[in-house]
């Protein structure tokens, strides 16, 4: 009855063909292929489980977590972050808000939650799984972070300042790598992040699955890792510094359509 025809499309890190490399962006084709074969949905399923799982001293789930659109409202919530939250008086991105919800709803301590903010291929972190689940529900929404509240304006201004602030052992700033067009590290293109045209397709695909390490990565991780590559002190997870930079980059991407979670090299 059924003819057997089995074609394996495993998520292998494919090397680029020479023909593809001649095009302007050799990654477009690669990105398309890897997106089709990426196991993102599996992580979203775990994220959903964690979202609904009763945890912590208060034995509560995160289902009542307010990500800015009201308790438990997830549709389009991620696309409207970072934004100012009245209850904490801070501009928060998704991950810092999740930490806040875990503390307030589940009664967990910040130390316990942030013991392992970034996972690896064998064991992604709780925050990474949750980010995937929450972000998926903004797929197709316009990126619209908060820009009106004085605190939001402050965060943007601080982010802008930090973006060109030289620091660390090597006296690097974000602009050292991301301040002009056409730069790259080995085969990776370095986008000019203060250019809305170049930053918006990126912001539209975070958080993401990173093919080369089979792991989940988030914007908090991206900032942390950039700081590490600049040889600065490690930034604090969800701190004003990191959140302001995320705010700056997201506001630059305002108006683009969120199409994540995405795939990175």
């Amino acid at each position: 009855m059924m003819k057997r025809a089995l074609a394996c499309a495993a998520v292998l890190a494919l090397t680029l063909s020479p023909a593809a490399a001649q095009q302007k962006s050799p990654y477009a084709d690669y990105q398309k292929k890897t997106t089709e074969a990426a196991p993102l949905e599996l992580f979203e399923l775990v994220g959903e489980e964690l979202w609904k799982k009763k945890q912590g001293p208060k034995s509560a789930s995160l289902e009542q977590c307010d990500l800015g659109q009201g308790p438990g409202k997830l549709k389009g919530a991620y696309a409207r972050l970072p934004r100012y939250f009245k209850d904490t008086g801070e501009v928060m991105d998704l991950e810092s808000r999740l930490v806040h919800c875990m503390m307030s709803l589940q009664g967990r301590s910040r130390e316990e939650i942030l013991k392992r903010p970034f996972g690896n291929a064998d064991k992604p972190s709780e925050l990474e799984y949750l980010s995937m689940y929450v972000a998926r529900q903004s797929n197709g929404f316009k990126i619209d972070p908060g820009t009106r509240h004085p605190k939001e304006k402050e965060a943007y201004a601080l982010g802008e300042k930090l973006f060109s602030w030289r620091t660390g052992l090597w006296d690097f700033s974000c602009t050292s790598c991301h301040g002009e067009e056409g730069k790259r590290i080995r085969a990776s293109e370095l986008p000019q992040l203060d250019d809305p045209k170049q930053v918006s397709p990126l912001i539209a695909t975070w958080p993401a699955y990173r093919v080369s390490t089979s792991s989940l990565i988030t914007l908090q991780w991206r900032m942390n890792n950039c700081f590490q590559q600049m040889r600065t002190a490690e930034p604090i997870f969800g701190s004003e510094t990191v959140n302001s930079l995320i705010t700056y980059l997201t506001v630059k991407s305002k108006g683009a359509t969120y199409s994540g979670p995405g795939i990175k090299r």
Partner: protein, 98 residues
Amino acid sequence: MAGPMKMRATLAGGYTDVRVLMTHPMATEQQTKGQPHFIQNLTVKVNGKTVIEGEISQAISRNPVFSFRLKGGAKGDKIEVSWLDNKGDTNKTETAVA
């Protein structure tokens, strides 16, 4: 316990396209210094009848994605995909053709 699986089966133009994702470390002999952990057998059933029995190796990447095409099929047909790894762990998922 094995992580989640996800499957989609869609009928189009006389063929049923099936795409299945599975959570598995697929750790090789070399990575683990002699303690490999990988899916060995893959079984696809349609309405309870086995149509594919596959053997796969350590060469398949972590969290594999398989897609394949079955000739024919009808809406509502039950497709079941199960795997068995070299440590005896197993998992399966079932979906109806849409």
